[in-house]
Structures are given as C-alpha cells and as structure tokens.
C-alpha cells in the first residue's frame, strides 16, 4: 500500500520557538491515523503546515505522490485534502445548508455568464450542489436543521456540520482537528461511530487530532505522539500506551512528580 501523505523532516519555527521540530511520518492510503500529544505539542501546526496555512522552514510534504510543500492553501485543498478546525470556523450567519453548499460547489462548476443570467447549466448544477449538500447533512444527522442559522446550532452539531462541509469537497484525505473538543461522553461516543462510519463508507484516509485518549485508542490503529514539536512515539494503541516517552509526556517525570 502506498502512502497517501508523507511528511519528511518538517520544521517550523515561530521566532525562537520550534513549534514543529523535524517531524517525519506517513499515513497509508485508507488508513485512520491519530495524532496525539499534550497541549502545545504542535499538532494543529502540523495540520496548518500540511494545508499550506504556514510554509515549513524545512522538509517536504508529499501527498498522493506529488510534492505539495510549495502550494498555496487553496491549491492544496483542490488536490484533495479537507480539514475541520479546533475552534470552529463555520459561516455563522449563513444557514446550515449554505455552509455545505459553499464547499460543495467547488467540484460542480458553471461559467460566470451562466451565473449572472441563470441560464444554461445554472439550474441543473445548482440542484446538484443542493442535493449533494442535503445528502451529506443527512449523513451526519443534520438534515432537519438545514435551514437554521449555523451559529445557532448546539456545539456538537456545529462540529458535525464542519465534518459534512469538509466531506463535500470529496477529499482523499480528511484532517479532523479535535472533533470531540467540548463534547460530553455520549456525544463523543456518537462521534466515534460517525468517524468510523465515514472512514468505512467514503474510503478516505483520515488523520484525527484528539485529546480524548479513549477515542483515539479505540478507533485509530496507527497513532503518532508528539511533544514539544517533536515526534516521541509511533505505533499501535497498545505500544503507544506502554511507551515510556508517552507516559512521561502525559504523566510527567517520576522525579518531578516525586
């Protein structure tokens, strides 16, 4: 199996801080991988580097056999990477449906003239965009809230909406940044099922950043653990749970705790 994404020696510094320090890891096609680590370990920065929000100081990122390191954000996205955000970035004042349609339209074009005259392909393509968006909303359980303003949704639903919006880009790789943040245990449980179902049904590769260790341990067969910007461990859930560096990062040094 070939790697869908491969990071080699990625480094990013902000002033004197090495936010990401020579990170290398790869994720296989169709894999569901977890990226864990304490607060400030640099996990979100890795996502920002993959999606071109930041440019790495060193190293390269190869996605689907192509070097995407120098590409701009929108070009990276068009190659087939979609992501959600730790702090939700929905279009708050638009409806739930509009939020998804805004993303879904990028795979379903019509020309400028068809747009301003509403002739030609406009009607058919707009219907396709709407149908596709409604299907995805139904998939994440938001179909009955399609016309509600996105900002008025309960928190857990806003997270689901972000997932639907990301899926509407037909990505090959989905990056989920703390999808369970701020959720109660039942919601985490339901989200767990949703992520596994999406992974199974859409044939995607997924990287998920998460603080809820039980969620990651349960759904991700491949886990990368970071601390202070560097990779400290990689492997399956059991290996990660026993890894001395991981235990040290999460529980502290014996000397410190003593």
């Amino acid at each position: 199996m070939a790697a869908i994404i491969e990071l080699t020696n990625i480094t990013k510094t902000f002033g004197g801080v090495r936010a990401v320090d020579a990170i290398s890891f790869s994720v296989e096609r169709g894999e569901l991988a977890g990226l864990i680590g304490p607060n400030g370990a640099g996990k979100t920065t890795v996502f920002n580097l993959i999606t071109g929000v930041y440019d790495p100081d060193q190293g390269s990122i190869v996605f689907d056999g192509e070097d995407i390191t120098p590409l701009k954000t929108y070009q990276v996205i068009r190659k087939g990477i979609a992501r959600t955000f730790q702090n939700l970035r929905l279009f708050q004042r638009s409806t739930v449906l509009e939020n998804v349609m805004t993303a879904a339209q990028n795979g379903l074009p019509y020309s400028f003239w068809e747009g301003v005259t509403h002739l030609g392909r406009w009607r058919g393509v707009e219907r396709k965009i709407r149908d596709k968006s409604m299907d995805l909303l139904a998939r994440v359980g938001l179909a009955d809230r399609a016309l509600q303003e996105a900002g008025t949704l309960p928190y857990g639903y806003q997270r689901r909406l972000e997932i639907a919006r990301a899926l509407s880009l037909d990505p090959k790789l989905l990056l989920l940044d703390e999808p369970a943040a701020g959720m109660n245990p039942e919601e985490v449980y339901a989200l767990n099922d949703l992520i596994t179902a999406i992974h199974r049904d859409f044939g995607l590769s997924i990287i998920v950043i998460e603080h809820h260790m039980d969620l990651v341990m349960e759904i991700c067969p491949h886990i990368v653990c970071m601390n202070f910007g560097a990779k400290i461990a990689e492997g399956g859930p059991e290996a990660i749970q026993r890894h001395p560096e991981v235990l040290k990062a999460y529980l502290g040094d014996e000397e410190e705790t003593a």
Partner: protein, 283 residues
C-alpha cells in the same frame, strides 16, 4: 410626468447602480473602498470623450466607460487585494484622489477643472430605468450563484474560505472589477444626464457617500442598499430648497440610523426574508 420628477427618478437609477456596485464589494466581499467615485469619474469621462470627440453612439460608449473602470480596478486590485487588512482601503483612497487630480490637470483631453461641457443628453428616463433594471437582475443573479456564495465565504472567514478551496484573492478581485463596472456605468449615465461633468463631482465626499449608503442600507443586503439609495437621494433632493442646511438633515439621518439600527436598515437580510422575520416576531 414633470421634468423634475423625471430627473429625480433618473438620479435614483444612477445612484442605485453605483450603490449596487459598492454594495457587492463592501457588503458581500467585505472589502472597504474609499475611492469608488474615481470609477464613476473614469466611466463619465471615457463616455463623454468617446461621444463628443469621436462621435461614438452613446450605448457602446457607456459600456466602454464601464470597461475602462474595470481595467483600472483590475490593476489596482491585483497588488492590493492579495494582502488582507486595510491596504486596499488606503490604496483606493489614494487612487481616488490621483484620478481626480489627473482629470483636473490633463487639460488637452479632459479640459481640466472647469469641466467637460456639451455631452449629449442621452440619459433619458427609459435609458436610465432600462440600465438599472438590467444591472439589477444581473446583480441579484450574481449574488444568488456560486460566485455570491464565494464572495460571502471570503467576507465571513477568509481562512476558512481558502481551506474550502477558494482562491480568495481572485474572488475579491472579481468583486472589485464588477463593482468598478457598475460605478463606471453609473458615472457614464450621470454625464449624459447632466450634459456636463467636472472632476470635483467625483471627490472624496462622493466616495464616502457611496460607502455610507451601503452601510446605511445594511452590509450584505442588496435590497438594503437600494432602500438606502432611495432614502438618501430623496433626503438630499427634497430638501434642496433649504440649500446647504440639507447636509444637516443628511447627517442627522445617518446618525439616527447608526444609533437605532447600527447594522443598517435591513441588516444582512434581503427584503423578503426581512419581512418574514419581522412578521414572525410580531405574532
């Protein structure tokens, strides 16, 4: 219909066309401009010179006026709209003044500060209303298409927009170029209405007024902009007899709106959805 009423309707159409242009850029793409009168000036002078000097028919000349405004907007937009923040607002302010000064000093072509007289009065009532209706339909179609959604996405959160695969710089440039076309056409119609144009008509006051009307009507509401145009144009016209004191009333109207409805008359809603919401609240 008396000539006076006719004049006011023509002026309303012209102001509404310019207002729609600025509304697209500021209300829908979230880019503030302080120099859109310059695009009106470019449209007005291009059309005036083409019809008077080169005896071109007014219809292609008006379109040419819009296109010249678009071209200038493109060259301003490319370097400034790739950056986020207030760069464009500052650049537009500079551009506005620069174009006015060029028009004032390029005597051989524009006849300078004394103005450009003898323009054919081609802006009759049907021409003004016709242009308004066509541009109105195209504008509403535009904002209810993928392009409108793209503009709103860039306005609400440009990082999220680029992470949904939008080239946000290009979308802002598209909005600017279209808004310049609308203002260019509005300027061209104004020239044909007054038969006389002067650089001072397109100064910073005019630019500020264009943006004020859009904020007044509600950012992100095209029908709000039209309503705002109606109110502001009528206030300035109906109180013409009391000459400069009407600016007091104009100012007072703006202050009152800002105090009682800071989001503008319609907020970010279009007229039908505004009424629906209003009725629901009542019942």
């Amino acid at each position: 219909m008396s000539g006076y009423t006719e004049g006011i309707i023509i002026l309303l159409c012209i102001n509404a066309i310019a207002g729609m242009g600025v509304s697209l850029l500021t209300g829908f793409a979230g880019v503030f401009s302080l120099g859109h009168a310059a695009y009106m000036a470019l449209g007005a002078y291009t059309t005036a010179i083409l019809t008077v000097q080169y005896s071109m028919h007014w219809l292609p000349a008006i379109v040419a006026g819009g296109i010249v405004a678009m071209i200038v907007a493109y060259f301003i937009g490319v370097p400034t709209l790739r950056l986020m923040g207030d760069y464009f607002a500052i650049a537009s302010l500079g551009l506005g003044e620069a174009i006015r000064l060029i028009l004032e000093n390029w005597q051989s072509v524009t006849r300078g500060a004394r103005g450009y007289p003898g323009i054919d009065p081609y802006t009759t009532l049907p021409v003004a209303v016709g242009a308004f209706l066509i541009l109105l339909i195209l504008m509403f179609n535009f904002i209810n298409s993928r392009y409108g959604r793209a503009c709103k996405a860039c306005r609400d959160d440009y990082i999220a927009a680029s992470l949904l695969g939008f080239n946000t710089a290009n979308i802002r440039i598209l909005a600017l170029v279209l808004s310049a076309f609308y203002c260019g056409v509005a300027g061209a119609l104004l020239g044909g209405f007054l038969s006389f144009i002067q650089p001072v008509m397109f100064d910073m006051m005019k630019s500020t007024e264009l943006t004020a009307v859009v904020v007044f009507g509600g950012l992100g509401s095209m029908s709000g902009t039209l309503l705002g145009t109606l109110v502001i144009t009528l206030v300035t016209e109906l109180f013409r007899p009391i000459s400069q004191y009407r600016m007091l009333i104009y100012g007072a109207v703006l202050v009152i709106i800002m105090v009682i409805r800071p989001e503008g008359i319609l907020g970010n809603r279009e007229l039908p959805s505004f009424f629906r919401r209003f009725l629901r609240r009542d019942s």
